[in-house]
């Protein structure tokens, strides 16, 4: 959406920007996509306006647009994080039953969610840290159970602790295997055989990825570098 941002050299990219740009490549024209709050919501910045992509927020608009100019906010038009948004031409208001009907019924092409842990089975944990942080699952469990593709967008490690682990120690969000994990260091595809490394981050070596990952990673031949920016 922002040509200025899109042309910045990749050397200047923050981890989050690398992740958002790489996830944006997964989104094809005409898709219906749900972006979680936080990092996943940044993905919208790297989708061309004319791609015919519709963004859905679980609180009830299909056809979410960018943040409005100051003074043009509508208190009845926010994203799932409560931030002001706009509606694109062709948008539709829906209630929560229709919103989750679309999510659970398999009508959503893709969801992009943050993660606390993903394990070798491809299972995601992202809604609580027992005894520490209990925000609740919100729509995450339905999104992971129902969307056609589930993409986890997260920084590779949390203060040095690996987030891609042999087996999730945190409560799961769903048993379903997620479709893709995108971090600033790697793109990893969970498969029936395990976690397959499909791309390296800009300037990142396979060794570095393996060192920062406690899960077993399948490396099959040459691993290409992400092409972003």
């Amino acid at each position: 959406m922002n040509a200025d941002v899109m042309e910045r050299p990749k050397a200047a990219m923050s981890p989050k920007e690398i992740i958002a740009r790489r996830v944006a490549q997964e989104i094809k024209p005409g898709m219906l996509v749900n972006l979680g709050i936080g990092l996943p919501s940044m993905v919208a910045n790297y989708i061309p306006n004319d791609a015919g992509v519709f963004f859905q927020a679980e609180n009830g608009v299909i056809g979410l647009g960018a943040r409005p100019p100051e003074g043009m906010e509508d208190p009845h038009l926010t994203d799932a994080g409560g931030g002001f948004v706009t509606a694109v031409p062709g948008a539709a208001s829906i209630d929560s039953a229709m919103s989750f009907g679309i999510i659970r019924g398999g009508h959503l092409d893709m969801t992009v969610l943050g993660g606390l842990q993903v394990d070798e089975r491809g299972c995601l944990a992202n809604w609580m840290v027992p005894g520490k942080m209990v925000p609740g699952m919100g729509g995450a469990m339905d999104l992971v159970a129902g969307a056609k593709r589930v993409i986890v967008a997260m920084v590779h490690s949390a203060k040095g602790d690996p987030k891609i682990v042999p087996h999730c120690t945190l409560p799961l969000t769903a048993l379903r295997r997620v479709s893709l994990i995108v971090t600033e260091l790697a793109v990893i595809e969970p498969t029936h055989e395990g976690l397959v490394l499909v791309e390296r981050g800009p300037g990142v070596s396979v060794e570095q990825i393996l060192a920062e990952t406690s899960a077993q990673i399948i490396v099959d031949g040459e691993v290409p570098e992400m092409r972003i920016g």
Partner: protein, 217 residues
């Protein structure tokens, strides 16, 4: 035909200990003036069912701050540190429900279904203690219907027959909760004469609505 009532008169209808369904998503589409009147009246021991607890100073957050709440059935409390604290201290019992399951449980209560069969939550702590059922070889949780003694909802327009219209992301749980409260109280932003809302524009038929609040002064 129904007359609009003042927020304090509506709040007086809601006794201590009531189960109230409250519309809104992070405070958007919540009946704020009604909540203010409930806080002013000092209602106690409420069980509220809602998507979230909003944030301190907004919507349901005001009920939490004022100590009106004993129990909450919600999908998310991440933006309200107060309810998280009160949950940890034991002052408020919190039941977390996946958002899509929550709205279907409320709908099931309102439309007379015996429960909801969903795959959401299978293999997670949400499954704990719940009945499951296999249909055509796939396993589902049996999630129970939810009904409220009251549904407290917000709408954009009402007419004097009680018909309601909602706006943009202020729809959220409101139209579903209108089905599931034993007594339904709506706070419309505007009330228009009967006939002004086209039958095709009505999202909640007036026959479901028991009381509506006067417009803000």
């Amino acid at each position: 035909m129904r007359k609009a009532i003042h927020p304090e008169d509506a709040a007086a209808l809601i006794p201590d200990g009531a189960v109230v369904l409250i519309g809104g998503f992070m405070g958007v589409g919540t009946p704020e003036r009604l909540i203010d009147a409930m806080v002013a009246r000092g209602v106690r021991n409420l069980t509220f069912v809602a998507n979230d607890a909003a944030m301190p100073g907004k919507g349901i957050g005001k009920l939490v701050t004022a100590g009106c709440v004993a129990r909450a059935i919600v999908s998310h409390i991440g933006l309200n540190p107060e309810i998280q604290q009160k949950m940890i201290s034991g002052e408020i019992a919190v039941e977390l429900v996946p958002q899509g399951t929550l709205v279907e449980r409320i709908r099931a209560g309102g439309v007379g279904l015996g429960g909801v069969l969903t795959a959401t939550g299978i293999g997670t702590p949400v499954e704990d203690g719940k009945q499951t059922i296999e249909v055509d070889g796939k396993r589902y949780l049996v999630e129970k219907p939810i009904k409220g003694d009251f549904a407290l909802i917000a709408a954009q327009h009402a007419d004097y027959a009680g018909n309601l219209e909602y706006s943009l992301t202020a729809h959220n749980f409101n139209p579903i909760m209108a089905l599931s409260g034993h007594i339904v109280i709506v706070e419309p932003e505007m009330i228009v004469p009967i006939g002004v809302i086209s039958p095709d524009a009505v999202k909640t038929p007036g026959v479901l609505v028991d009381h509506m609040l006067t417009r803000a002064a």
